[in-house]
């Protein structure tokens, strides 16, 4: 393998509640690749991917707790970083 393979991904249900999350991810992760499948969306990014509370709150106009991600989350890959302000995934390599 020539390229280092260090992708992380998050998959969300493709519904109304996920739309601002997808938008926030695209806003804060310029390398993120968004792919739509029936009923689901899978977002890959090299090395790191983050969902910021502030970005989501700006989009939806209300308070948002990063743990709300659990409701529409389908799957993920990477080491989870979670605090009050963000939900992120990263590779150590």
């Amino acid at each position: 393998m020539v390229n280092k393979n260090n992708n992380v991904y998050i998959a969300l249900q493709n519904n109304e509640e996920s739309r601002p999350l997808i938008e926030a991810i695209e806003h804060d992760n310029s390398d993120a690749r968004v792919e739509f499948y029936p009923a689901m969306v899978k977002i890959d990014a090299p090395g790191r991917l983050v969902i910021r509370r502030e970005t989501v709150e700006d989009l939806i106009g209300r308070d948002w707790d990063p743990q709300e991600i659990h409701i529409n989350l389908i799957s993920l890959s990477g080491n989870v970083i979670e605090d009050e302000d963000q939900f992120g995934l990263e590779r150590a390599n």
Partner: protein, 513 residues
């Protein structure tokens, strides 16, 4: 503002989990947690356990309740709207029969397994994670039963799934997989299920297959699937954490963990052979092929995961190259096996139609036309003559994975792969080097395997004839089994779609009955 909102996430997590623990004063820790040592794993400091999701019990109930509410409103809507009539084709329902008999009982087994593992871990971090997972798994089996019970009103084969899980020949594959994990120690169990199975492999079932369920109009199934998988995200992070924790605690743990990863990757991969066929043959409208899904979820994503773990001295699971060599044949070999033995299965099989074969040709350009299409065309010509063929010779099973020996040599798709080992004067047979290695490492465990074919021949399954065995399985001959083409399911489907004449013809032609 309530008290817990004043704490930040880390503090709140500390209060709600770690602070619930206590040091025993009148019992020895080794008496309370007697299974912590025997697997050879060395743990020095349980507090080094990092919880990736800082989910506390109050937040857990809140989010789980919300997931349930969403799920049940969709299940209700599906039932009220007669959603079963809106799936692409009644053949699709057979994937659900396999799911309910093969997968849902594993959710229940996982519920039990994590309750046991959580009880045996000496640290409060993994105790809480295992407890939540145990409750999650109970939720999964319940939601699956509730969702699929709707189909039981309209289609055959759903009526006695737990009984079948314990008895039917191919269901011994998933059953023995979990029995194997549950009869190991707590560290091996969590490595097997949370890491090797959930982190590395189950995405293939719960992502592309469930997305396929949506594509085929089954909103109810995709919703329980995604709802379950959202819990799995937590389980997967638990799996990764348990691996990292063991590896960081003591370097003597590294070879043990690697051995478990090798074993459980291969065990899980063999189990997923059923999923390969669900994706390539049982979804009338397809999202992606098994091969594409394997490339996406194992080769790329699994590859990134193992590069990440390389810093601990962990490498890719042994025989992963074989899985890549097999990706262009796996689903075809497995579907063909069920076509052979469908008179003893609790779901219908069929020869793919021409458009479907064309899709398979496109997705499997190196193998399908060469090896598998001629076989299906031959079977179709037999059926056209009214001689649908079933194989009445019981197959030899692999002693480890319990799948009939139907897989081919890694480097030769035309030669069946046979391996064997001698142990205490008996010969044992395997489908692959992976399964042979697993046996050779723990022969005392695997010589005890309950192999359905052996059991039938020993007279332990109701009798020696197919009808007797079917009765013992609680399978109704001519209703639940055999080819879809002449099934009651198909006749009913045609009737519901207004094709009454064709439905009558189908019923008259029931060679199954």
């Amino acid at each position: 503002m309530s008290a817990n909102q004043r704490l930040n996430l880390r503090e709140k997590y500390q209060k709600f989990t770690r602070d619930l623990a206590w040091e025993p004063s009148y019992q020895k820790k080794s008496d309370i947690f007697p299974q912590t040592d025997f697997e050879g794993i060395h743990i020095h400091d349980w507090d080094k356990w990092e919880d990736p999701f800082r989910l506390t019990v109050d937040a857990y109930w809140k989010y789980q309740a919300e997931k349930e509410k969403k799920l049940y409103s969709i299940i209700d809507a599906f039932a009220q709207n007669n959603g079963q009539l809106n799936v692409t084709d009644a053949r699709y329902i057979n994937a659900l029969k396999l799911f309910l008999t093969g997968v849902s009982p594993l959710e229940y087994a996982a519920h039990r397994g994590f309750a046991m593992a959580g009880r045996q871990f000496g640290g409060v971090g993994p105790q809480v994670s295992c407890q939540m997972q145990s409750i999650d798994e109970l939720r999964h089996v319940q939601t699956q039963i509730h969702t699929i019970s709707h189909y039981n009103k309209y289609f055959n084969g759903f009526h006695d799934w737990q009984h079948m899980h314990d008895r039917v020949w191919y269901l011994s594959v998933p059953k023995s997989f979990f029995d194997d994990a549950m009869s190991a120690g707590p560290f091996e169990f969590v490595t097997a299920i949370s890491f090797s199975f959930e982190y590395v492999l189950t995405n293939l079932l719960f992502m592309p297959f469930m997305s396929g369920a949506a594509f085929n109009g089954d909103m109810a199934t995709v919703t329980f699937g995604f709802s379950a998988q959202s819990d799995e995200s937590r389980h997967m992070t638990l799996g990764l954490e348990v691996i990292k924790f063991m590896l960081e605690q003591d370097e003597r743990n590294v070879p043990i963990v690697q051995k478990w990863i090798d074993k459980w990757f291969w065990r899980g991969y063999r189990l997923l052979a059923l999923v390969s066929m669900m994706m390539d043959y049982m979804l009338p409208k397809r999202v992606m092929s098994w091969k594409e899904a394997w490339e996406m979820y194992f080769e790329q994503n699994g590859g990134a995961l193992f590069e990440d773990l390389a810093r601990y001295g962990i490498r890719m699971p042994k025989y992963w190259e074989v899985t890549v060599k097999e990706k262009e044949r796996l689903s075809h070999e497995v579907w063909s096996t069920f076509y052979n033995y469908d008179h003893a299965a609790a779901f219908h099989s069929w020869v793919p139609d021409e458009a479907e074969m064309q899709w398979l040709t496109t997705k499997y350009p190196h193998t399908f036309d060469q090896y598998y299409r001629p076989r299906f065309e031959h079977w179709q010509s037999q059926t056209d003559k009214g001689e649908r063929w079933y194989n009445n010779t019981l197959p030899m099973l692999c002693q480890t994975c319990q799948i009939p020996m139907v897989f081919t040599e890694p480097d030769d798709p035309t030669t069946t792969c046979y391996r064997s080992s001698d142990y205490k004067g008996e010969k044992y047979h395997f489908c692959s080097d992976g399964c042979k290695d697993i046996f050779d490492d723990e022969p005392e465990k695997y010589v005890q395997a309950w192999l359905p074919v052996h059991q039938i021949y020993q007279g332990n399954c109701g009798g020696a004839s197919v009808p007797e065995v079917l009765e013992w399985y609680h399978l109704r001959d001519g209703e639940d089994n055999k080819d879809y083409l002449y099934s009651q399911d198909r006749a009913n489907w045609l009737k519901w779609k207004g094709l009454t004449e064709e439905a009558e013809r189908t019923l008259k032609a029931v060679v199954n009955g």
